[in-house]
Symmetry: D2
Subunit: 440 residues, 4 copies
């Protein structure tokens, strides 16, 4: 987590103050539940809530205590007893540190997921707006980086929308995976704490209960969560790479917004570089790199070992903060993307109509030629255009009309009719309906 | 995919014969749909179905053609035209290779997922059976590899059951992710093929339609699929590591079945090694290693590049075949696991009752001591036992009874009452009910 | 390892026949050394060599025995005794299976490294040839995908050459890492076998001795080896991505060789796609994905566990076979790459001379303007050209000459002189000398 | 990078103040070289050195400027001109930002490598000291977690020493990989800056020149660097896992130092957990997770894109700081490790002498039995001991003496002679000589 790639709301989730506040809430809720069960005095439970709620936890003091005890939860409890007084001995009854730590991590990850879901919603809104704006902006589709057939810029954005709608659903599922509460005591047997306490705390913290915990909440849940973040990051990379391609000098069909005063290069004042999307590409690598450590965290020893902890201290904040930043940055890029329909048109025409080669192929087979002969006829006429330099306008049609085998099957008028771009876009409305539930 | 770690049913899904058969079915269904739309003759569609269904596709012949065309789908179509005759020119009308290839991959991955789901079901059954068998088999729970408090061997297995039940649900979701059909033509615009064809083929092949494809089915779907396999593999590793620990010479609470005639070591005839679970640990690494390549496949260029293809040719079979083998092997290990309750008991008693330290701590705080004073009192008496060598039976209770601070708060009878193991197991039924929906 | 991406020589290294032959050689050399030490009869050692050398090991028979013993080395030794007769009891004296298995893996990886080194040498030769061919072929350099300043196509290839020369050195180091021999018996203490046997076998097999083994050769060696393969794969990806970019329709500065009869797309006969370099991009992902499993193999338990074995059974062949194929494919691509200098020139001129913006900036600062004022002056004149559409020839120079602030500092002649391309290439010879040791 | 796992000296390398100081030094050295070449006035170069050296760079001011320019190097140069005055216009002449940024990263990584090398030296010293201390401390060697044959605790540490000596050599090589200097201007052609400047700066900064750069230093170098850190992290994990195993309750052959006042568990006062080595296991996962992002950074587009930058801003500090901390922590663990030779002895005897099974096997084959018959005889007698419960002292010898087939080949005295532990340790001196160059 570095300031340059961080936003304050997500950072705040991971601040020590937030963590201690959640710790307190869990401990206090548990004490209330214990009071309801008659295990600790009601009066003590109330005192703990009142004094703890009013207090500000002193992060430096807790750190100081930890330097002796070498145990963070014990340090916190000691500090809490400084605040609460003698009733503090009723706190943490029958619980183990992991009850607090793991449930806290659940709360933090769930909150982080909520921010990320809001980020995705903003991105979806931007994608939808720009998609409809460019629903009919014709552009060449490219497979293998090579001109193929036309599509529209809106369809490109619709694909991104569909992909992030999937990511949204995945994140909702991943949030459910980690939003569980374990208050089951050492080894998870509830030996010293009634399962009702877990139920009570879970409800109060907005979590579901962990059906069976082994002191810790099982780490397959977290692995799934971070794997999902890795998929989302990869989708960000896909859109980023698309924009980087579109901004290439020779292509220049779209461009990141370049603000007044911005400098593209310290040496070359003429440059306008797609630095935001390049940055997103790098951030995607970072988030993706956190998936494997999370997977390696699953196989803890016996009822638990603590090797997962250092991993989560780093990737918990880093993955969520970085992804939050990346989603917001991508939304900004999409929102302000400068689109050049005239360049799209110019590029589309670059190959002199070759993007209609399939239509000719189909017409020839319909006219009775074998698939192989049709393919050969189209390919030989196409390759002549491909290898031309300079202005190729109308060349493909002209070549076809000079080819005796083609002309034996098709009329010149039929050939001309094949160079109508509307043909390619007739189902754009269908696609939009599928993605957005409306075509206009 | 290597024979040693493969099972035939999963291997068959990835055989060239299977692939070509699925290719044929997709092409033939599409031709039927085109015939219904009046694009190609009904008669031709029927001929294609009949001749293709009756034929055996000649893998070597297809390979031979591919050596010239350098294009696998074209090679197949050429071979198909050898089988079908002139009507073959109506096949693949308006389609692009990816329509066939990607939809085929969907079918293969969906079938693979079905086998994996069956594998998980078998594993769940084995875990459930053994869990109830050992519901009350007491054993020490260990955190950090160190004795903590008692649990039962059944609870350990219940945890594994809950984890694989989650994995089952994840895999169902992952299957839905990749079970989509795209018949949308070059660049995915349906320019040369009606969306109704896609709907028809999807239904026939048991898939849902891909709302928007860009020649290819978007690879975030596959990334999510393989990431899920990586999580499942990590869960396998967790159970495998547990068993490896239990079989250690000093622990020996459980042991992989060792068959007559089996040899543990070429040099040391006395050995019985947990080689199956060690193997599972390695297989988990392999499956996990395929997650990142799948994530890197997401960011294809523009409407598609083909860099994903070589990755999927390897990890498609390798991840599913390896995971299928691993799940089946784990099921076998669980089914035949030799459990030693008497060793569990002996190990449990090793620390002379220290596993009750928390009960004493709680009793002291209940009796009015501060949390800190209680902790110190228990810790000093516990450490004396910890540092003993030899037989520690009853030592912890005895030490407590000799400690004036403790005795000021508790009676000897109260202390003795804290060394009753049933106390730790009173909620095992609750846990079983949560996991299995029944406690016995 | 799949046939499509495999070459026979590397595949042969991993064949069962090769493995059993190496096993035999190690066992037979060890027996000879034991005979020299007087531990076993010389006559027996000779018999073993003679009968074993003459025999063909029966892979199916060994597999059959393994199905009972569940131990591959024991199965092999049993088969060897079928061949050699009673003297076979002197084989494997004091050794453990890992002595054979690990030393064999060393031999296989060392042989694989030798093939890979030869592959790199071929690639370096191709890069050098094409680099000198295009030493002076001017082309625009691009940072962020945006035109920057000119370079030559030869310099691009020189960079690739320097990178693969580094990879060669890394692979030599990695080969030395894994070319070690361990014949140290169970637990590596030489309890039952004299260290002289290890020295003898090492020398005969072309390996160095493992200073301290713990039954196994330590896996940090293998981790380093596979990590090095991952770096090489990433370099392959870099060159592949470069070529994919150069072949883009709008750029088309270079193109993979497209053979007669080749078909680019089943649907669009006009296409020529960079499928080889796209394939290399995918293969790079695969090899890279094997790095982490190799790293996870390092932390074996105590003196060894066998979890590394399944990993190596897969990634040993897969990583080396795939990388061998990829290097050879890349060499072929470079060798036959079709280069279009005229397109490079046309693209270079696209921005109307903006690639000289830095020269103007420097001239203005030399003429006394502040860095900030110079930058602003150049940027405002450059951006006007950037935002133009259509033919920009000479536009940048013209704009500069119309800018009063610029003209107060520079003469029109000085400006014209800044649009001389040779200026950019004057140190190409220096770069070539650094990389190739010769500039022509 | 989080405070809990950071040490100040390594953190300081990555502080903004350090970075700006290195930027200044590179710029100032380059200006001096340009002055020597007559490109800028000597007087200006001197002024820049003097004023810059005396100044403290204002991190907040630079950040403020960057918010407008959106370019960090330009922001720094602007701030520098505020300090230096008009002569600042001679700074950065003919250079590009990457010249400064990449060379700075080289300096930082080289300094980080120096700290890591010192860390490894300290670790090697600790391992050597403890290895000789326990050269003859007998302990059971374990393969597959199962007792095998004896070794000494010193040999275990010698293996770790040999492994970290290899890691040291790897890190020296990795340091050389990244210790290069590029001052080659935009696109790396030296168009606007003489190669002599690069040579001058390289020498002054303690780097070698980059033979051919393409605006950036090629990222295969950094990939190799971070891959090497990943290998070292994996070795740390190996030692950490060993200690965690040795501290298990049932084993307890060694234990992390447990300080007075330390608390093992908030709930269970009796616990002493191997938390440092568990932590190291997690830290290893983190460092390893940074390898793949570094590998993905290699394939930058054309002469450069900036996607690598965000990755390096995070993994540069995180990988080096975390590894530095981990190495130091491991050194502390080794230094203060509490070793229990008496427990090692007790565990060694647990299986009633079975660790000599290989000796018996060898003696039987020497006595003329076939390998298969010998194996069967030893195995059947060993398994009876294996399956015993309770005290097994002397049982294996006794069983052998009761076996007629064994007694037909061996005398009771010969059998007794096989239970002498010194036999297993006779080559420990040889191993120590190999590893440390001395056996005592």
């Amino acid at each position: 987590m570095i300031p340059r790639y961080s936003r304050p709301e997500m950072v705040a989730i991971w601040a020590p103050e937030t963590r201690f506040r959640i710790w307190f809430e869990i401990e206090a809720h548990a004490t209330t539940a214990l009071a309801d069960l008659g295990v600790v005095p009601q009066e003590a439970a109330r005192t703990i809530w009142e004094k703890g709620s009013a207090a500000t936890f002193d992060v430096e003091r807790i750190d100081e205590i930890e330097r002796t005890t070498k145990h963070d939860v014990i340090a916190f409890l000691t500090h809490l007893s400084e605040i609460v007084g003698p009733d503090a001995r009723f706190v943490h009854q029958g619980m183990t540190s992991s009850d607090v730590l793991d449930t806290t991590l659940s709360v933090q990850l769930a909150r982080a997921a909520d921010l990320l879901l809001a980020d995705i919603d903003a991105l979806l809104a931007a994608l939808e707006r720009r998609a409809f704006e460019h629903r009919d902006t014709i552009t060449i589709g490219r497979s293998h980086g090579i001109h193929a057939e036309p599509t529209t810029f809106g369809v490109k954005l619709a694909e991104a929308h569909a992909e992030f709608a999937r990511n949204r659903a995945r994140l909702v599922a991943a949030r459910a995976e980690i939003a569980t509460c374990a208050i089951s005591g050492a080894i998870g047997t509830f030996a010293n704490i009634d399962p009702k306490v877990e139920e009570y705390v879970a409800e109060k913290m907005g979590l579901s209960i962990e059906p069976v915990s082994t002191q810790v909440i099982p780490r397959d849940r977290h692995a799934m969560f971070f794997a999902t973040l890795g998929v989302i990051a990869s989708s960000i990379e896909r859109v980023a790479v698309e924009i980087r391609h579109l901004q290439r000098t020779e292509v220049l069909e779209a461009e990141e917004y370049f603000s007044p005063g911005q400098k593209g290069s310290s040496a070359m004042p003429h440059k306008r570089n797609p630095v935001l999307t390049e940055n997103l590409t790098g951030l995607a690598r970072l988030v993706r790199g956190m998936v494997t450590p999370a997977l390696e965290n699953v196989a803890l020893w016996h009822e638990r070992d603590i090797s997962h902890s250092s991993v989560e201290r780093m990737i918990g904040p880093d993955a969520t903060v970085t992804l939050d930043f990346a989603l917001a940055r991508l939304t900004g890029v999409i929102d302000r993307l400068v689109v050049y329909p005239e360049n799209m048109r110019r590029n589309l025409d670059l190959l002199g109509g070759l993007h209609n080669s399939q239509r000719v192929l189909l017409a020839l087979t319909q006219a009775g030629l074998s698939r192989e002969a049709s393919y050969a006829a189209v390919q030989r006429n196409a390759m002549k255009v491909w290898e031309m330099r300079g202005d190729r306008t109308g060349q493909f049609a002209q070549n076809l009309k000079s080819d005796p085998e083609v002309m034996a099957a098709l009329t010149p008028e039929a050939i001309d009719a094949m160079f109508d771009d509307a043909y390619h876009l007739k189902h754009v409305g269908t696609i939009f309906s599928r993605v957005f539930g409306r075509s206009a």
